[in-house]
Amino acid sequence: MATTDKEVKELIKREYEHGFVTEIESDTFEPGLNEDVIRRLSELKQEPEFMLEWRLKAYRRWLEMDEPEWAHVDFPKVDYNSISYYSAPKRPEDMPQSLDEVDPELLRTYEKLGIPLHERAKLAGVAVDAVFDSVSVATTFKEPLEKAGVIFCPISEAVQKYPELVKKYLGSVVPAGDNYFAALNSAVFSDGSFVYIPKGVRCPMELSTYFRINAANTGQFERTLIVAEEGSYVSYLEGCTAPMRDENQLHAAVVELVILDDAQIKYSTVQNWYPGDENGKGGIYNFVTKRAACIGKNAKVSWTQVETGSAITWKYPSCVLRGDNSVGEFYSVALTHNYQQADTGTKMIHLGKNTKSTIISKGISAGRSSNAYRGLVKFGPGADGARNFTQCDSLLIGDRCGAHTFPYIESKNKSAIVEHEATTSKVSDEQMFLCRQRGIDPEQAVSMIVNGFCKEVFKELPMEFAVEAGKLLEVSLEGSVG
């Protein structure tokens, strides 16, 4: 699946290619956060009363909380009052009902991003919910999904149309007071995706969301909730980009997955938020809480993530394995370059009997970046026969970067089994010499070696995403040689 040399050349030449700003009129709140802002937000979204109450409660919790400082990252304090908590592209009247009604400028933005919204969506069989700044712009493929009984819509729409489902599951996996950023998100989340797969249904296509932060000084706080009922299956893809700006931008998302008996959710992310420039200026602060609860027996969840973007990443997609025989998987590639900092990993909480988890983490550090894996594997007293396998590999490019591994294991059950393997390696001079001696460009050689290192994770990604991920690595590694 080698990309042609020509493609690669072009890719290497490119810098952050998604770094354009779209000129469109938008409705943006004045910077600052207080209860009035939350009320306005809730009103604007025509939310039922319970939602406003939920938000306010979260806000009050947040006020009492402190920003976490335990992560292996270093950055100036965020001024939460300098951020605007809502920005939406201005629209003539109501929300657009179809793609034809979407601002053409916006659609061109998506085209530039290579989002398969229109024909490409059909070709690829992907249904897309695109979140631009804070509002869901268009959700394609609604009809065939409705036929299957699948609900896939902006969460703001779900709040109005399916309040009972939202009430039941929102915050059931990540409670509003779970952590500082989750509390903030609960208070001010503006949009996101809602997916509901009914009992016994295999979702007929892969569902996909693209997030983009466009407006300056805006925080993005999207909220995703996916519920897989008994015996159902869904594969969900998530892609992210943001324009190049000198200021840092905050992204604090929450993703909750609920998996019932015999159901499965496969959640894949390719995260390419703007990482800042080569001197470490600008970039996205990506503080995200992602958690899956395997409530039912034989429930299964897999997180697959390829992280190349963000100035700072603070992210631990987790699995709570409550149902007996439930399975959690985490496959991750995190690449940092220049001055990027990543503290990422997972938590596997084994509560049910014979629960199983697998962690494959591949960290790649280049430039002056710092890349940390932080993982918790925990066995509750009832987790008889539970087991975990963890493999944690780090690859260093150059000699100014750092890789760190922080594994935590807590066991309250004697029958639990944990296996942990860790390696650290370098792209060696010998490997580079071999490739170059065969006529291969140094940049292409590095990207080939790195792709090989990530192979175990890439093979978990849906085909389309795997190709995109490979190309992303090539672009992200630009300038890492010599």
Partner: protein
């Protein structure tokens, strides 16, 4: 084709090559023999452009052009090929992907169309048979878990695929049993062509029974101390390096 004049090279401040002179014409096969530590491998690495070595004097031209000005990959594209003594592993990168990337880099340099996966697969399967490698190995990671013999056969297969102007074989016979030696030698003999030169570096004469050279040079202490025809190798075998006043177990590197 290749002209080496008074070449000096050092590694970590220590001089290894102390004035090498050598002319190789198209169609010729040269063998460089010498005891351990004489600089044989250094010469191969320096010609291929390993940046761990510093050129401290002299010149090397390939068809009149200054070779030492070119980066490693540029030399490769101009037709310099090195079969490594100890080929390194690249985990997770399939041999097929690696080889196709290399072949396409060369083709692109020559202004030819790149080969698609299907075309390349067909070619690679044919060539793998020439060195008696099961095509299944194409899907394995580059040199990953290969036996010593498989690694050497893989190197020769790469030469056959890339069709270089000058193939440098660094101790290609080391670690091979008699059968594997025969296979590798057949591969090298298939490389012989009027427009191609081969430079073999070896410690032992036995390889030269299979691949008969036109010229034999003896390297010692970083210099070529004697040159001759095929018979020089035979005489060396009979009389040992001591005959030329060289210690065989010179471990000065």
């Amino acid at each position: 084709m290749l002209s080496i004049k008074n070449l000096h090279a050092s590694v970590e401040g220590k001089e290894i090559l102390k004035g090498i002179n050598l002319e190789i014409k198209a169609g010729e096969v040269h063998a460089i023999m010498g005891p351990n530590g004489s600089g044989k491998s250094t010469l191969s690495q320096v010609l291929a452009g390993n940046e761990a070595f510093e050129i401290t004097g002299g010149e090397v031209t390939l068809n009149g052009d200054n070779l030492l000005d070119l980066a490693t990959e540029e030399r490769a594209r101009e037709g310099i090929f090195l079969a490594f003594q100890y080929p390194v592993e690249i985990p997770g990168v399939s041999n097929l992907q690696f080889l196709r990337t290399a072949v396409n880099a060369m083709r692109k340099h020559r202004g030819e169309e790149e080969m698609n996966a299907a075309e390349f697969m067909k070619l690679a399967k044919e060539v793998s048979k020439q060195v008696d490698l099961d095509p299944a190995f194409l899907k394995r990671g580059v040199n990953e878990g290969f036996s010593g013999g498989e690694k050497k056969r893989n190197e020769i297969m790469q030469a056959l695929l890339l069709q270089p102007k000058l193939a440098i074989l660094d101790e290609t016979d080391s670690g091979l049993d008699i059968d594997a030696l025969q296979v590798v030698s057949n591969g090298v003999n298939a490389l012989r062509a009027e427009d191609r030169a081969i430079l073999m570096v070896t410690h032992y004469q036995r390889l030269l029974n299979h691949i008969v050279p036109d010229y034999v040079h003896v390297l010692a202490g970083g210099k070529i101390v004697k040159s001759g025809g095929r018979e020089l190798a035979l005489e060396l075998e009979e009389r040992g390096y001591g005959w030329l006043g060289i210690k065989d177990e010179d471990t000065s590197n």
